[in-house]
Amino acid sequence: MLKIPRNYDPSLHPFELSREYTRALNATKLERVFAKPFLSSLDGHRDGVNCLAKHTRSLSTLLSGSCDGVVKVWNLTKRECVRTLQAHEGFVRGMVVRYCGSSFFTIGDDKTIKQWNMEAPGYGEEEEPLNTILGKTVFTGLDHHQKKGVFATCGQQVDIWDEQRSTPIRSFSWGVDSFSSVRFNPVETELLGSCASDRSIVLYDMRESTPLKKVIMTMRTNTLCWNPMEAYFFTCANEDYNLYTYDMRYLEKPCKVHMDHVSAVLDVDYSPTGLEFVSASFDKTVRIFPKDAGHSREVYHTKRMQHVICIKWSADNKYILSGSDEMNIRLWKANAAEKLGVLAPREREAVNYSQKLKEKFQHYPQIKRIARHRHLPKNIYHQRNELRVMKEARRRKETNVRKHSKPGSVPVVSEKEKHVVSVVD
C-alpha cells in the first residue's frame, strides 16, 4: 500500500456536510441491503420447542427441550444435533446448565427434577440422569445460581434446592399461587424474581426466610430476565403485549414500558452486554429492544415461524436463538446487517465510520425513513394498525372525559403507572 501525504486544508475539501450526508445516506441504504438476519434453522424436534438453555462455558453448544419431553443438544457451528435424550414424560418445562458447564438440570411435567451429565454417555451406555428428584407438584420454572451449587424451581411455590439434597433448603410461598418462572439475579446472585399467575412479580432473597416484595400488574407476567450488567434492573414479558423494565428498588412503576408486539410476549432475554434485550411473542415475531427505548429497533419474522415460545441471546452478543411452536430452533444475527467473521482493519474502520455517520445524521428524514423501515407480515401489520387505532381512541375518549368533568377529577395517568395495580410489602 502506498502512503500518500494528505493536505487537510478545508478549502481543498469543501462541502463536508453534504458529502458526509451523502455517505451517511448510502451507508444507511447499504445497511438495509445487507440486513439478512436469519442464519439457519435447527430442525429435529418432533414437538414444539418449549425451552432453550445456553451452555455457560461453550458458545457453540445449545440445549433445547420440547413439548414431548425430548432434550436435544446442538452444535451451533455445525448446526446439527449432537445428542438426543428422552428426559421427561410430557413437557420439558425448564432447563438450565450448571455454572461450571459440567451438567444440566431439567424439569418436566412428570414432577421430576433431573440432573444430566453434559457429556454424552459412551457407546452402548444408557442415557441416565445423574440425579432425579421427585417433587410433590409440577415444576414450571428452573434457574441455577451463578456461583454456587444451588438452584431454584417454581411451581406452586418457589423452592431453593441444594444440589446435594433431595429436599428444598428453602421454600417461599405468599398466598396460594402458581408460578410460571423464576430467575436468579446474575449480579447480586442471592436475589431471585418470579412471576406468579395472580399477575404478580415476586422478589426473593435466598438468605431470607420470607419473600421481599410483590408487585401486581394488570395482566399476567410470563417471564422475567435480570439485566446481567445492572444489578437492580429486570425486564418482564407481559400478556398485555408489552414488556416492562423495573428497578427492583422502586416497584411502584416500571422505569420503561416497551411496546411493539401485537400479542402476548412469551419470553425475554437480555444481551450479555446488558444494553439490549430480545423478546419472543405469540405474534410470531422476535423483537430487539434497546434497554431504555420504548420501541424495538428490530423485528425478525419468517413465513414459517409460528408462535415463538423461547428466546436466548448468545453469550458472545452476536446471535439470537429462538425456539418456536413449529418444532424449529432458529439462529439469527443480533445485528442484522453485521458481517460475520473476522474483519480486516480497514473494513472495521469503514464499518465504524459508517456507523458514526448514521448516528450523526439519524434525524435527517430520508435517513430516518430508510433506517427505520422494516417489512412486517400482513396480519401483524394490520393488527398493529388496529392497536394503534384502539389506543388513539382510548386516548381521545379519556381526554374527552377529562374535558367534560370537573377539573382534577380525572387525573392524567402516565403509561407507566397504568399497568401497575399495587405493590404489596
Binding site: Y8, M229, A231
Partner: protein, 772 residues
C-alpha cells in the same frame, strides 16, 4: 424451719433453671441468694436454739415442740450416719411436671412471690443498687405483656426489613451503572486478559513431574521453597511485583529512560567539546561559564542569600589563596623556564600569557550586588551625615582602583545600555515610539562613543592626578547610558558631552572649562542621584523624570546638534511654550523609518480603489443586478395564456377573428408580494426546491433542546477526508466493543472493587493536581 428449707430448695432449683436459660439478671439475683444458705442455716440453728430455750416457758405448743425435737433427733442420727440428707434433697432432678417458667411445687405452701425472694436480697450488700431498683420497679408494675403480633403482621415486618436490606445492598452498584451508562466506550468481556503471549506459568500449570529426574528436581525446588507450578515467582518476587503497580512501574521506567538519555546526550556533548582543539573556543567557553556562574550567584542572592554568601566566600577564599601563593605568577620554576624560552618559542609565550590570564581571573575582585550592598552599607555607616557626592569620596580614596581598568569592557556597557532602553521608554511615554525607532541605529553609535570615551578617560587618568573631573565624567557616561531622556539641563550636558566626543582631544580643555563653569548648575542634578546606579534594580529605584527629550535621529543629527550647541549654551532652564511647539514640529518633520505602515495606507487605499475602478471600468454591476432582479420578478409573475389560437378542426390563417368564447382571457390571481419588494439590493428567490426539502430536518428532534445544540452535532466532519488518521479513529470509536468468540459473563463483585479503586485513584490524582 421447714418453710425456710423449702424455700432454699426452690431457690436452688431456680438457680439450675436460670443457669440453663442463661438469663443474666436472674442469675445474678439467684447467685446472690445462693451465697446466703450458710448464713440461713446458722440463722436456723440460732432460731432453733432460741426456740428450744423458749420451749421451757411455753406449754401450749407441745406438738410443735415435739416435731422440732424429732427433727433434731433425725438430724443427729443422720449426722451420725455420715449422710447428708439435705444435700440429697437438693440434688434431686427437677420434676417432670415442673414448668420452667412458673415454679409451682405441689406440696409447697403456696405461690412464691417476688417479695419473698427480695426479702433476703435487701439484706445482702453484694447486690447492686441498680438491680434492686429494677426489681422493685418490676414488683410495682402490674402490666401484662402485649400479646404477640399476628403471623401476617410479623411476616410483613420481616419482609419490609428484608427488602430494605436487599435494596441497600443492590444500591452499591449505582456508581458502576452510572459510570457505564456515561462511558464513551464499553469493552466486553469485562475482565479481559491482556493481549499478547500468555505467561509460561499458565501454560505449565497442568504439567506434572513424571520421570525420576524431574521428581528429583522438583524435590530440590520444593526443599528450597522455590515455586514450580502456578506462580513462577517466589514469594519475595511476588511481594515486589505487588509493591509497584503497572502504571507506576511504567512511569518510573519512562523517567529512568529519560534520565539515561539525557546523561548520554551530555556525555556525548562533553566528549565532543573536549575533542575541540581550539584554545580560543575553550577560552570563550570558560568565560561563558564564569558568566553563568556569576548570573547564577546573582539569582541566588535573590532567592537564597545565605547560600550565595557562601559561594561568594568560597570564591573570595580562592582569590585570597591565589594572592597569597602567587601560584600563577612568574615566580614558579616552570614560569621562569618558560620566561627564558619565551623569546624563541611562540608556544611558551602563549602558555605564559595563559598563566597570567589565569592569575588575573583568580585575583579579580568579584563585583556582585551583595558586595555592593555591603559596600553601600559600609559607606552609609561611614559617612551618612555628609551628603557629599560620590566622586568627592572617590577623590578622597586616592588613585583609582587599577582593577577598574579592565572592567569597562564592551559587554557591561552594552548591558547597561540595554537596561536603560526600556527605562527611558517608560519615562517618556510620548516620545517612546520614536525613541525606539531611533534606538537601533543609535545604539551602535552610543557604544562606540562609550568605548572612545573610555579610552580617553584612561589616557586622562594617566595624565592627570586630578580625579574629580574624571569621575564626574564617569558619572556622565553612566547617566548618558542609563537615562537618555533626562531633563533639559541634562540634555545640555549631554550635548556638550557629544561635542567632546566629536571634538576629541583638542576640545577636551574647553569642555573641562565648561564643566567647571556648569558645575554649579549640575551639582543639583548630581545630588539628586545619591543612589549609585549599578544594577537594574537601582535604575528602577530612580525617581521617574516627568519629561524626556527624544533623541534626534542619526541622519539629521549633525546640523541640529550643532545649532543646539550654539543656542543652548545661552538657554534658560525653563520650558517655553513656543519652544516646545517648535520642537514638536521638528519631530514631525523627521522622515520616519520605512517600517511604519499606517502613514502609507491612505494613499495605498486610494491607489487600490483607483486600480479597481480602472480594471472594472466597463462593468456596470448595479444595472446588471437590477436587470437580474427584474427578470426574476417577471418570471415569478403569472403568465397570461393566450387561448385564442385556433385549435383542431378550426379555421386558421391570417386575418381570422377568434371566436367569442375564446376572447375571454384566463387570468390567474396575482401572486403574493415578493419578499424582496422593499429591498432594492437583495434578490430573494421565491422558488422553493422541493427535492432539497425532502432531505432537510424540519423540526427539532427529541433529545435536543435548541437549534444551536442540534447544529453543533454537524459542526465538524468525521471522515478521513477532513481529519487525520488519529482523529478519525478517535471520533469513530464504536460504543460497544466485544471480543470475537468470547463469552461475556455477567458483572461480578470484582467489578465493584475495581470501580472503587478507579474512583479512589481518580480522586487522589485530582487532589494531587489541586495541591500542585
Amino acid at each position: 424451719m421447714a418453710h425456710v428449707r423449702v424455700r432454699c430448695s426452690v431457690i436452688c432449683i431456680m438457680a439450675k433453671v436460670s443457669k440453663k436459660k442463661g438469663s443474666k439478671k436472674i442469675k445474678k439475683v439467684v447467685m446472690s441468694v445462693e451465697e446466703q444458705p450458710p448464713v440461713n442455716e446458722e440463722e436456723e440453728e440460732e432460731a432453733g436454739m432460741a426456740g428450744a430455750e423458749g420451749d421451757i416457758g411455753s406449754s401450749g405448743e407441745d406438738e410443735g415442740e415435739d416435731e422440732r425435737k424429732r427433727q433434731k433427733l433425725l438430724q443427729a442420727i443422720s449426722a451420725l450416719g455420715g449422710k447428708r440428707k439435705k444435700a440429697l434433697g437438693e440434688r434431686s432432678e427437677a420434676a417432670v411436671d415442673m414448668s420452667e417458667f412458673s415454679v409451682n411445687p405441689e406440696d409447697g405452701p403456696g405461690k412464691v412471690q417476688l417479695s419473698d425472694l427480695m426479702g433476703t436480697l435487701e439484706k445482702t450488700p453484694a447486690v447492686p443498687a441498680k438491680t434492686r431498683k429494677l426489681l422493685e420497679n418490676l414488683q410495682r408494675n402490674k402490666k401484662t405483656v402485649d400479646s404477640p403480633l399476628s403471623k401476617q403482621e410479623t411476616e410483613r415486618i420481616q419482609r419490609g426489613m428484608a427488602f430494605q436490606k436487599a435494596a441497600t445492598e443492590v444500591s452499591r452498584w449505582d456508581s458502576v451503572i452510572t459510570q457505564n451508562q456515561r462511558a464513551e466506550q464499553l469493552l466486553f468481556p469485562l475482565n479481559q486478559e491482556p493481549a499478547g503471549p500468555r505467561p509460561i506459568e499458565r501454560l505449565v500449570a497442568g504439567w506434572k513431574a513424571q520421570t525420576p529426574l524431574e521428581q528429583e528436581v522438583f524435590a530440590l525446588l520444593s526443599a528450597n521453597k522455590q515455586p514450580f507450578t502456578d506462580p513462577i515467582l517466589t514469594p519475595a518476587e511476588e511481594a515486589s511485583v505487588k509493591a509497584m503497580s503497572l502504571e507506576e512501574a511504567k512511569i518510573r521506567r519512562a523517567e529512568l529512560q529519560k534520565a539515561r538519555a539525557l546523561q548520554s546526550y551530555y556525555e556525548a556533548k562533553a566528549r565532543r567539546e573536549k575533542k575541540i582543539k581550539s584554545k580560543k573556543y575553550h577560552k570563550v567557553q570558560n568565560k561563558v561559564k564564569r558568566k553563568g556562574l556569576l548570573k547564577h550567584i546573582e539569582q541566588m542572592i535573590k532567592t537564597d542569600p545565605a547560600a550565595a554568601m557562601q559561594e561568594l566566600n568560597k570564591m573570595e577564599l580562592a582569590r585570597m589563596q591565589e594572592r597569597m601563593s602567587l601560584k600563577h605568577q612568574n615566580s614558579s620554576k616552570w614560569a621562569k623556564s618558560k620566561a627564558i624560552m619565551a623569546k624563541y618559542d611562540e608556544e611558551a609565550r602563549k602558555a605564559m600569557q595563559q598563566q597570567l590570564e589565569m592569575n588575573r581571573e583568580l585575583t579579580q575582585k568579584l563585583v556582585t550586588p551583595l558586595n555592593e550592598e555591603e559596600e553601600e552599607e559600609e559607606e552609609g555607616a561611614a559617612g551618612e551625615a555628609d551628603v557629599l557626592p560620590d566622586f568627592v569620596n572617590d577623590a578622597v580614596d586616592g588613585p583609582p582602583n587599577p582593577w577598574m581598568k579592565g572592567k569597562l569592557t564592551e559587554e557591561p556597557t552594552k548591558e547597561q545600555v540595554n537596561d536603560a532602553a526600556p527605562e527611558a521608554a517608560s519615562v517618556s511615554a510620548a516620545a517612546a515610539e520614536e525613541e525606539e525607532e531611533e534606538w537601533a541605529a543609535d545604539k551602535t553609535e552610543e557604544e562606540a562613543l562609550l568605548r572612545e570615551f573610555d579610552c580617553r578617560r584612561k589616557r586622562h587618568q594617566a595624565q592627570e592626578s586630578d580625579t574629580a573631573g574624571s569621575i564626574f565624567q564617569e558619572e556622565m557616561t553612566e547617566a548618558a547610558a542609563e537615562d537618555s531622556g533626562a531633563s533639559d539641563c541634562d540634555e545640555e550636558a549631554r550635548s556638550e558631552f557629544r561635542s567632546i566626543s566629536r571634538g576629541g582631544e583638542e576640545g577636551f580643555k574647553a569642555t573641562e572649562a565648561v564643566n567647571c563653569a556648569d558645575r554649579t548648575d549640575e551639582s543639583a542634578q548630581l545630588e539628586e542621584r545619591l543612589i549609585r546606579i549599578r544594577t537594574v534594580e537601582d535604575l528602577e529605584r530612580l525617581p521617574h523624570e516627568p519629561s524626556a527629550e527624544p533623541r534626534d535621529p542619526p541622519t539629521t543629527k549633525a546640523q541640529p546638534s550643532e545649532e543646539k550647541r550654539v543656542g543652548k549654551s545661552k538657554k534658560k532652564k525653563g520650558i517655553e511654550l513656543k519652544e516646545v511647539l517648535t520642537k514638536n514640529t521638528n519631530i514631525i518633520k523627521v522622515p520616519l523609518a520605512p517600517t511604519g505602515t499606517d502613514s502609507e495606507d491612505p494613499e495605498a487605499k486610494v491607489d487600490q480603489k483607483g486600480l479597481i475602478k480602472e480594471a472594472f471600468a466597463g462593468d456596470d454591476v448595479i444595472s446588471d443586478f437590477l436587470k437580474d432582479k427584474r427578470r426574476q420578478e417577471d418570471e415569478g409573475k403569472p403568465k397570461v395564456i393566450d387561448l385564442t389560437l385556433p385549435g383542431w378542426g378550426e379555421w386558421g390563417g391570417l386575418g381570422l377573428k377568434p371566436p367569442k368564447r375564446k376572447r375571454r382571457k384566463v387570468r390567474s390571481a396575482p401572486p403574493p408580494p415578493r419578499k424582496d419588494q422593499r429591498l432594492p439590493t437583495v434578490i430573494i428567490t421565491e422558488k422553493k426546491n422541493a427535492s432539497i426539502s425532502l432531505h432537510q430536518v424540519h423540526s427539532l428532534p427529541f433529545p435536543f433542546e435548541n437549534h444551536a445544540q442540534f447544529e453543533s452535532c454537524f459542526r465538524s466532519p468525521l471522515g478521513r477526508t477532513w481529519n487525520t488518521e488519529r482523529t478519525v479513529k478517535k471520533v469513530t470509536k464504536p460504543r460497544v466493543v466485544t471480543q470475537m468468540g468470547a463469552i461475556i459473563d455477567p458483572m461480578a463483585e470484582e467489578e465493584l472493587l475495581r470501580n472503587k479503586d478507579a474512583v479512589a485513584r481518580e480522586t487522589s490524582s485530582v487532589n494531587s493536581k489541586k495541591s500542585r
